[in-house]
């Protein structure tokens, strides 16, 4: 009698099993379609992203960032929609047999979408910092040769790279001239950290490998080497800033210990 009822199509528990297997199928189709759409979007971004970054002449790359923000919003919007649908339409129809597969379906799907969001922009070089930096320095080195003291007319020696307005003493009459390096040179201050990081990729990769092999705590010396490499580069890019750059190095290490190496 029990077995007959279990497989009887008139049995309400049988009806709910059919509903829930239907739910599982529908959920699979829904998440598959959403994932395919995300994949299509990722493909399009991978094809266009670098072209947009390269074409953007704004000094702050605002057009590329505007594009990127909208794409990120598309991905987060899809994840939102999937999450809302999962909680409000799918899970209420689940039973103890389908709860786990549905949950796994959702979790896998949202992990895939997050990965696709990241992958969309992987390898896209927002700006070629090294090229920009070299162009700015070339321009600066050309420009600084032509300055004359505004008091006595002698050649004004601008001996180093200044990224802020600075007082330069005339070697002949000792007058303090005010030197303004121009807007391009000023950008270097904001490029220093990302450029220093880009130049320290070898040390970074070494740290990553160490971390994989022996864990984060044991990889601390490798991270310190990476931080030191960044510091060395920053001192080259921003001469005279050594104290400030050292503070940044100290913060990098403090953060590493505080947020990554808890014990």
């Amino acid at each position: 009698m029990f077995w007959k009822n279990l497989f009887s199509s008139d049995d309400p528990s049988n009806q709910s099993r059919m509903d829930s297997s239907d739910t599982l199928e529908r959920a699979k189709r829904f998440f598959e379609k959403m994932e395919q759409r995300a994949k299509d979007l990722m493909q399009e971004v991978k094809e266009s992203g670098q072209l947009i970054a390269d074409a953007d002449q704004d000094p702050y790359k605002r057009s590329y960032l505007q594009f990127k923000a909208a794409i990120i919003a598309q991905f987060t919007g899809m994840i939102d929609k999937g999450t809302q649908t999962y909680h409000s339409q799918i899970m209420p129809k689940a039973n103890f047999a389908t709860m786990l597969p549905l949950s796994q379906l959702y979790t896998t799907w949202q992990t895939n979408l997050l990965n696709m969001m990241e992958e969309s922009f992987e390898g896209i070089q927002e700006r070629n910092l090294e090229k920009e930096y070299q162009e700015i320095m070339e321009q600066y080195n050309q420009a600084r040769k032509g300055f004359l003291c505004k008091q006595c007319g002698a050649e004004l020696e601008i001996q180093q790279f200044y990224y802020t307005a600075s007082y330069i003493t005339c070697g002949f009459c000792q007058s303090q001239n005010m030197f303004d390096p121009g807007s391009q040179a000023r950008l270097v201050e904001h490029m220093a950290i990302p450029l220093a990081r880009a130049r320290s990729k070898v040390q970074y990769e070494n740290y990553r490998q160490q971390k994989e092999a022996v864990g984060q705590k044991a990889a601390t010396p490798a991270y310190e080497q990476y931080a030191q490499a960044i510091l060395n580069e920053m001192n080259k890019i921003l001469p005279g800033n050594e104290t400030q750059n050292q503070n940044f190095y100290d913060r990098l290490l403090k953060d590493f210990h505080k947020f990554h190496v808890a014990w």
Partner: protein, 257 residues
């Protein structure tokens, strides 16, 4: 939520988006108010302050201004208030030279002060300096020298000056309107627009002016918690409007369960 607010300042867009997503996904519904009510009658600002303190971090409420703090000493006579108010004015369209002339300092002094103040905020693990800066950023209107400074060349807009000034007052006094505009800005970026330019075109104001008007809201965690759902709702409404106007609706909008 604490984790998001304590984020390293140099984190990039995708990492922040990923973290926000993982927080959202752990919440069963979009209704944050019910989450807050789950904390009982607790003072959200107090909870946030205590949570932050446990990590050795200051908040706008708990930031201190110790006169002997080396990180808060003036740089070439330029105090953190001078710097913050100057930054607010630059956000309105004033130039560095206009700031210098008004403060009575020369450009090399101001440039070094900007670098040093920026670096102090960057390197301060306790977030105290940035919280003190934020407080003074919001008080630019009261700065002894800079309050009266008007940009010789403000951003181009068709919005009349009087109307823009009215909107600014409304942002300062109408909490709902302030968070509506925050939601609108987010919606603009999400639908492919330049949110900052939209503010200039639509309201005749810069991002800096808008944010300055609402510093007292942004520094109060209880208000932020209270207004989160409202801002989200407004963001949705503006997103629908902007995406229709621009043809940039969700790429998966047609897919149904």
């Amino acid at each position: 939520m604490f984790k998001k607010l304590l984020k390293n300042l140099t984190e990039n867009i995708t990492d922040v988006a990923k973290d926000m997503m993982s927080e959202k996904m752990n919440m069963p519904s979009g209704d944050h108010t019910s989450q807050m009510e789950g904390y009982g009658q607790a003072d959200m600002q107090k909870i946030f302050d205590e949570g932050a303190a446990s990590k050795g971090v200051k908040t706008p409420n708990t930031a201190t201004e110790d006169p002997n703090d080396p990180l808060l000493q003036p740089v070439h006579g330029i105090s953190i208030y001078d710097y913050a108010a100057g930054a607010a004015k630059i956000g309105e369209g004033c130039t560095d030279d206009e700031i210098c002339a008004t403060l009575g300092v020369e450009r090399p002094l101001w440039d070094e002060a900007k670098t040093i103040w920026n670096n102090r905020m960057r390197d301060d693990q306790t977030f105290n300096v940035i919280n003190v800066y934020s407080k003074y950023f919001g008080k630019a209107k009261e700065h002894e020298k800079l309050s009266g400074l008007k940009a010789a060349k403000a951003p181009e807009t068709t919005v009349p000056e009087g109307k823009a000034a009215e909107t600014l007052t409304r942002l300062e006094t109408d909490k709902h309107y302030f968070f509506e505009i925050q939601g609108a800005m987010e919606a603009a970026y999400a639908t492919g627009m330049d949110g900052a330019q939209w503010l200039v075109d639509e309201l005749g104001l810069t991002v800096s002016q808008v944010n300055n008007a609402g510093v007292k809201y942004m520094n109060d965690f209880s208000i932020m918690a209270e207004m989160m759902d409202f801002q989200e709702q407004k963001k949705k409404e503006y997103s629908e409007r902007f995406s229709k106007e621009n043809g940039t609706s969700g790429v998966a909008d047609d897919i149904e369960f």
